[in-house]
Subunit: 681 residues, 2 copies
């Protein structure tokens, strides 16, 4: 496949900027390649793919660096081309750092490693696609986060849990796909935005997937690991904690049992025989009915450490997810609080985890809602490696039907100052490993791709995958910058296109929030599928996901004094701010407090009027998105235009249901009419 | 399989009644068989199965009628054993009538047909199992209803739509089952209660099932028809109205198109080549997204008549279901009313249907809810054959987890006096063909069996299958009588067992109604699965299934003056009674009226207090059922005891959720507390 929708942001469209084209054509003439590593070869391949398309020109390749217009190689191989200042700069940075330096005659890309060279080449290609001047570059970049990971929730049968873009590109009908071209292309796309780790199977590891770590499937996984290796991406597997019982012949998976420990040690050795640079295990244990150490009255530290010791001789890691651990709540009991669960479970274990264990903590205390406070667990365990987990897949944010550009949400979370070690202890710095002495840390996210030709169902959802990679490489990038980069590479640089799509993307999260669950309360979705409104859908469930709306008011009281005390899990000043009705920000009001419908927000509106206004407005805003997109009819190729148009129409239907059901529900319950007399049923 | 749970009501337990055993042993010594038909042989087989078990004795079989203690045969073959009065009685009755007459020396079973002999033998065996005196019998029986049908909603993949007892006994993995023993046994059970027609595939006819009427599958269906034939049961198939397009090479299925008509004529001929006594087609057309005549701007008469003409040369029938025809409602629009749909669609077509078309009308205007008024369509078309449709499968009535003995519900519906032709125009008489000059009429029902060893999931749900057959054979049987018959045959005659289970069965429907949706409003179930409470589950759906609860009141206004006018579909006095808030019965109040929570019922309670009381009571009643059953621990075999015990425990969990969610929902909405201060959340 080589369609525009397939190529996402690696379109490599012909350069039309007459000012720049000569400069580019000059540089991309003679390429000197001084290193031989796999990833450097991948960089060269990328140049071969890009340059002829962009510049309608070919280049020569040699190891004659002196006479090359572009020289690429790792720092060692390129040492004599770097001045001492450049050498020092690179030496001061991490393994994935690269340097690009140019003058009118030559451009050098040096990496601290082979994969860093690939990152540098992608950086250069991006500059060209953005029509930047490359004749006087002095760029030094390194990723801020050590782990930049994607989790595929792909099942062996080809389905994808929370997948909204077709079937798996890895599996179909309990077999590995034969043609692995898409896996290779996926690796290309990921490396172009700096992703360096991937787990390729669902964290819910079902029967057959349990055998992924056996000879039955390791040869195929070895092949896939080889594909990702070329792009500097380390392969991980989600494993079933109960494996020693399921695939071994043990009758226990107790992590303190010697035979279980030995089983995992042997298993690790076997895996590393196939994949010497295997990343390690991703584990969802004792959560949502998955097996885990609790079965044997052990705790998370016991469970993860046992695996960690098995992987340690091979530098493998255990990525241990911190998700719902008491989801079997009773809706009648208002003292239990799912929001508390991760912190309550893990915080007391701080210091007990092995140094190659990393806890993967979701960005919020619930589950990827359109609006949640940041998880108080992040940074709360100074002696335990942590990663934050985002969800690129739009499970609760429109499922790639509705437009929802998530970069602003993630930025807000990263910018959250936990105050765990005083002002400036942002989540961004914590997961970058700059606050606590983490050995490993970083960011993971659930991927949003499938085998739809455009990868992400809604073409505009490609922006979230792109932005995820870019943001966690460099969290100081603005949402606007990332949007612009993505739009220009994906759709070209026409001002009309750029301005329109950028505006659509930047407003999308707010629009989605407007017409869905209000003021941080979350969860008013259709159970199971998580798409579309269902106000009471999770109200009487076991999942700990309640809004407690009655005829007088709504919201979850999580205060210290009268509620679940969840606010106590935060440091000051958040503890006080969230706990105090007068200080809590409007958008999180109902997450922390139960208030009457006539309670007045900081915005000056009552809660009920806010609900009405936001929902009428959200719907109108979607109408606006449709108009905006319509204006691009002549600027975007038919296929991508029609794809987005179709999704926007479906979004409008969805927004209508949300608007009318939410408004009707609260009108029927509160009996308070809309101040503006609009139609409520 | 030959377990107690498998054998349902044909246990044939050893007779222990010392008073009767000698008499029975005398009669079951020499059996004279005067007819040779298949069904008479089946009757003899049943005697062979039953007698040795019940009486620990064998019998001889001959055609020496004079010296036989029991003589069986059809009226022609048995003529010389019947006196003129008996002859006259039988001659006056329908083909399925039988006569049993005995004196101290000989017992005669004569049938108006071979299958009638089988019915007579089952009648006799029932009497023996009930320990009745058989020495002075003078029984003449005929079924009141002509069609006594079951619809299997079995899919070819082995699943059963709305099946709660395992997988299909007919199909698995898109193949017919190889071992057809269970099909034969099912036929035995059905014939023992007089069922004479069966459709063996789901009314929703999917892709592969469309090919049932082709050479690909007709040989297997021929075999199954042969099994049912032995038991006097005629086989029908559900067909896909779009077949000429799907399996033919036509580009239309327009019923007025000559080529389509010819296609069906050829098709009918082909089917009858395989199955000369094939019953005909069951058709769900233009309902819930199934294809039908509407596609071609034709109506139901056009569609069904076209099929009827194709089947006519072979005496085949078309059974045309009258279900939801405008399910794509908008919940915002209170003028549309699903309850009106069947009547509005079909009533104007009266007189236009061919004489071998039968309309199959659900018992209520909605869909097998725990409480609905009778459908006003039944009897409203004097010139159109009609059957009523019940649902033995407990889709909305506990799914064979919760106990719900449905005979009282069906009796109430059959007893409903439509007044269509004055007083006494009951549904019972209408479907029996005694009111309008129907050529064909009767009763159909969705079956509740699957391949669970006990057939019906909950052992006590066997009573609904048994009772369905018995009731439609003889609608004057009381719910109590049917329960007693079933209990004695199934569990034996011990008084403790009889009294306890009878009490459980007779209260079950009321109990289920108590803890589920109140006062006829219906539909507060989990969408899709239809089990468990979900008060707003269908409130904002497209299905026309709303309760319109707000903070002030609840119910659907179907009155003439201010509502949908549905009440106008009834004759007087129902039209006035249902329309008038002062006259409408409490149990249907919310089906017909929207009232404030403080509206006072005829019971003297307010609506809201009724809701609280009924739900608290319903839960307590389930606790009572558990206690009652516990008392039978020593009287019922372990397997069946444990099965029912397990179901009752699950029912209690369910009742708890219903109680608490319903009460909480209405408390939160109304703000009105329980007068007795019980716990509401």
């Amino acid at each position: 496949m080589n369609s525009k929708k397939y190529n996402m942001w690696l379109q490599y469209q012909p350069i039309t900027d007459t000012k720049m084209i000569e400069q580019y054509q000059y540089f991309f003439t003679k390429i000197g390649v001084l290193s031989e590593g796999l990833q450097v070869q991948a960089a060269l391949d990328e140049l071969h793919a890009a340059v002829p398309q962009m510049l309608d020109a070919k280049f020569t390749v040699s190891n004659d660096a002196l006479n090359s217009t572009i020289v690429i190689g790792n720092r060692n191989d390129l040492a004599r081309f770097l001045d001492s200042e450049q050498q020092a700069k690179l030496a001061d940075m991490n393994d994935e750092a690269f340097l690009i330096a140019s003058n009118q005659e030559q451009l050098i890309i040096a990496g601290n490693s082979d994969v860093a060279v690939l990152y540098g080449v992608h950086h250069l290609l991006r500059l060209v696609q953005l029509n930047e001047d490359i004749a006087q570059l002095s760029v030094v970049e390194q990723p801020k986060n050590q782990f930049r990971m994607l989790n595929q929730w792909d099942n062996f049968d080809g389905s994808i849990e929370r997948g909204y873009s077709g079937q798996s590109i890895f599996y179909q009908h309990n077999q590995f796909v034969e043609d692995k071209t898409r896996i290779k292309d996926y690796a290309r796309f990921l490396s172009s935005v700096g992703i360096n780790a991937i787990s390729i199977n669902n964290v819910n590891v079902w029967e057959e997937e349990t055998y992924f770590i056996t000879k039955k499937y390791l040869p195929e996984i070895q092949e896939i690991a080889g594909i990702f290796r070329v792009y500097g991406i380390t392969l991980y597997l989600s494993i079933n904690f109960g494996s020693p019982v399921t695939i071994g012949d043990l009758d226990t998976a107790d992590p303190l049992d010697q035979s279980v420990q030995n089983w995992w040690k042997e298993k690790a050795k076997e895996i590393y025989d196939y994949i010497p640079d295997f990343g390690g295990f991703v584990v969802k244990a004792d959560s949502e009915n998955r097996p885990g150490p609790f079965t044997y009255e052990r705790d998370h530290a016991d469970g993860s450490n046992m695996l960690a010791k098995a992987l340690e001789p091979f530098q493998g890691k255990v990525i241990w997810r911190c998700f719902v651990y008491n989801h079997l709540q009773d809706w009648r009991d208002r003292t239990t609080d799912r929001a508390r669960a991760a912190y309550d479970h893990f915080k007391p274990l701080d210091g007990r985890f092995h140094e190659n264990v990393i806890l993967q903590v979701k960005n919020g205390p619930m589950d990827f809602q359109v609006r949640e406070p940041a998880s108080p667990l992040i940074g709360a365990m100074p002696n335990t490696n942590q990663m934050i987990e985002f969800q690129v897949a739009q499970e609760y944010t429109g499922q790639q039907i509705d437009l929802c550009y998530l970069i602003p949400q993630w930025k807000e979370i990263l910018a959250f100052d936990t105050h765990i070690k005083g002002t400036g202890t942002t989540i961004e710095e914590i997961v970058a490993g700059n606050i606590h002495p983490y050995k490993y840390s970083g960011v993971a996210a659930v991927s949003n791709i499938g085998d739809d030709e455009n990868w992400t169902g809604n073409t505009l959802a490609q922006a979230n995958l792109y932005g995820y990679g870019r943001l966690i490489w460099n969290p100081s990038l603005l949402s606007e910058q990332i949007a612009e980069e993505w739009i220009k590479q994906t759709f070209g640089s026409k001002e009309e296109v750029l301005n329109t799509i950028e505006d659509m993307l930047l407003n999308a999260w707010g629009i989605y929030e407007n017409y869905t669950a209000p003021l941080g309360v979350g969860w008013m979705v259709t159970p199971g599928v998580h798409y579309g409104p269902n106000i009471d859908g999770y109200e009487y469930s076991k999942w700990g996901t309640y809004h407690f709306a009655d005829r007088d008011g709504i919201g979850v009281d999580r205060t210290k004094e009268t509620g679940t005390g969840y606010t106590e899990q935060y440091q000051e000043p958040h503890r006080t701010i969230y706990n105090d009705l007068d200080q809590v920000p409007d958008e999180l009001l109902l997450f922390f407090h139960h208030v009457p419908y006539k309670y007045t927000l900081k915005s000056g509106k009552t809660v009920i009027q806010h609900i009405y206004d936001a929902h009428f407005k959200g719907y109108e805003q979607v109408e606006g998105l449709i108009e905006q997109w319509e204006n691009l009819r002549n600027y975007v190729d038919n296929e991508r235009f029609a794809n987005v148009q179709d999704r926007l129409e479906r979004q409008l239907d969805n927004a209508k249901e949300w608007r009318d059901q939410i408004n009707t529900y609260f009108y029927r319950k509160s009996g308070i009419g809309d101040q503006h007399g609009r139609t409520i049923y």
